[in-house]
């Protein structure tokens, strides 16, 4: 199930109701309420937000309070209330969140949203929502998450960036047509980062995805492996992996024009 559930742009009354429902059925997820937010242009999944402390609900998670920058990870669910005036910030947020449920109070907003977003498979709820409806939407969102994860591991069998080629099926990595020997974990790390260029991964997230849990090294294991990986695939011409200070790592978004090059 989801690590965190973001509630974005709700008024106190609707938020209150949503939190009660979420707390009953999805107790293991942390609920975070977001009021004002900005999307970081440099990394596609980083958002800066502010919390209105006076409005803060007792059931909300307070962990993130001191830090007002969060990375939206794949395992996060965003429940976004579409405002009457559909802004650039909102469309960025919708784009940033992989798994999302849109809440719509008024049908005309939905129509203007649809005209801006073709081919849309998002979950929609209307406010006020019923317990069952929301729970069902979240279950569907969870299924979608599993599907997306499966697709990532299946569809991109060969990933090509500039002169770096990763054949995930044959476990083969070449740089400028020269074979690079990677360990299994290094390869997995490269695979996850390169499958999601521009997306910032926290150490915690990479550790969970690649190691499950590492008793001996903890999250620092990720740094050690990234360091080794970079030593093997990077030089003064090639810079694939970028360290995001205080957050984690991302794969640079310099994709080659033609995948068959």
């Amino acid at each position: 199930m989801f690590d965190r559930i973001f509630l974005v742009g709700f008024n106190i009354r609707s938020e209150d109701r949503l939190i009660k429902i979420l707390d009953e059925s999805f107790h293991s997820s942390r609920i975070i309420s977001i009021n004002n937010f900005k999307i970081d242009q440099k990394s596609s999944n980083q958002i800066t937000y502010s919390i209105n402390k006076e409005q803060s609900h007792p059931l909300l998670s307070h962990e993130e309070e001191k830090d007002s920058i969060i990375n939206v990870e794949m395992e996060d669910l965003s429940i976004i209330n579409l405002p009457y005036t559909y802004s650039k910030e909102y469309s960025n947020l919708i784009e940033t969140s992989i798994i999302k449920i849109l809440s719509i109070e008024n049908f005309t907003i939905y129509e203007s949203y649809l005209s801006n977003n073709e081919n849309n498979n998002d979950q929609i709820i209307s406010i006020p929502t019923s317990n069952n409806d929301l729970a069902m939407r979240i279950q569907i969102a969870n299924k979608n998450l599993k599907l997306i994860k499966k697709n990532i591991s299946q569809s991109e069998k060969i990933i090509v960036y500039k002169n770096l080629k990763i054949d995930t099926e044959k476990y083969l990595v070449t740089l400028e047509n020269k074979k690079i020997d990677l360990t299994f974990k290094e390869l997995e790390l490269l695979k996850v980062l390169a499958s999601n260029p521009g997306r910032v991964f926290s150490r915690e997230n990479l550790l969970k995805n690649i190691w499950d849990y590492d008793y001996y090294g903890g999250t620092r294991t990720v740094d050690v492996h990234v360091r080794r990986l970079r030593r093997k695939i990077e030089d003064h011409k090639n810079n694939f992996i970028e360290t995001i200070w205080n957050v984690g790592y991302k794969f640079n978004e310099i994709k080659s024009g033609n995948i068959n090059e």
Binding site: F184, K185, D214, Y216, G218
Partner: protein
Amino acid sequence: MNNNSDTKEFILKQASEHDVKFIRLWFTDILGRLKGFAINVEDLEDCIDKGVIFDGGAIEGLARATESDTLAIPDLSTWQILPWRPNENSVARLFCNLKSFDNNDSILDSRKILQDKLMEANKSGFKFYVGPEIEYYFLDNSKTIIEGDDAGYFDQTSADNKGSNLRRECVLNLEQMGIPVRSSHHEVSSGQHEIGLKHTDALTMADSIVTTRLVVKQTAIKHGGFATFMPRPFEDLNGSGLHFHLSLYKGENNAFASSKNKELSKIGEGFLAGLLHYSSKMALVTNQWLNSYKRLIPNLEAPIAGMGKEGEISNIVRIPQIYKGDSDNSRIEFRLPDSACNPYLALSSILHAGMEGIKNNLIVPKNWESNIPNTLYDAIKESQKGNFLQDAIGIDAYNSILINKEKEWIEHNLVVTDYERDFYMKFL
């Protein structure tokens, strides 16, 4: 586990891709000497699934003779093709954990002892990270200093210096094996070199140290020479130490980093105090040979003094200076161990000492009086006071080492040396 089957598939594919013919299964005896045996690539899948049974009866401290059937279970994360072997019919290695075939407890597996110790620290949320500096001598094949090596500390000698070329080849081999080297340089004495490895978790590091010792020795032999990690190979030259740079992490944060303007956090100070408090008791493990104590004679950089004078090279511990704001690099350098220790047990003892220091709020003494044993015999006696080593490495491992070391001391006492004849016959 799903993850494990992926790893297995990766290993099998890489084995065929690189034309691997043999796989060496590695482990160490209780004294940290690398042991192992090879299996054929056809048996690799079976070995991954079930492990391999071998007769461990003759290996030091491994098992009692009556229950010698030992099961070697490979740790798949340690899969590595050995770079110094040919590209065709190449050779790979896997580190193994050991179990008795019919009784789980009776095998002394140094690697498992360290794993258990790390799990114990993990319960308090700590991860143990280590960066070592390993000193050793490159010699010619008659085991004497290579002629023409008059270089000294950090000397950048000309390209024809055989030792420096050997060191360069070792570093390249290590890098190829995924063991990143932080620095390497010529040491103080002729023929003496140092390789520093980049810090990583203690288990991977113990594996890396054992691997480094092999790489250095293999490289020297390949070029008709010899390498030794003996603690004090020549009476007129410096001993070879294994300095450990130690840090604890809690989550993503260095637990030794002080938020105030101090060198170490409270946790760091507790760890340091524990190290100092128990150093004399762990000497039997960190300095386990008769010869180890010839390195610990005052002078020649022997790390046996306290931390009285700032920057003294003879200090047993040192807090390396870090750039302002680089608190992530906070660490303690512990200089007592020598290059011939068992890194698994040495790191178990060091971690245990540090954790005891933290748990019991030990204070770093203002004037620490060195009580490091002078001889192997003293180290044996010192280790018998209290339960420190028993708790640090387990009662079975401790007893096994004790028997081995008492034997070493008694056997050496039976030998009449050239030194004695030269000295005494003048007047007796």
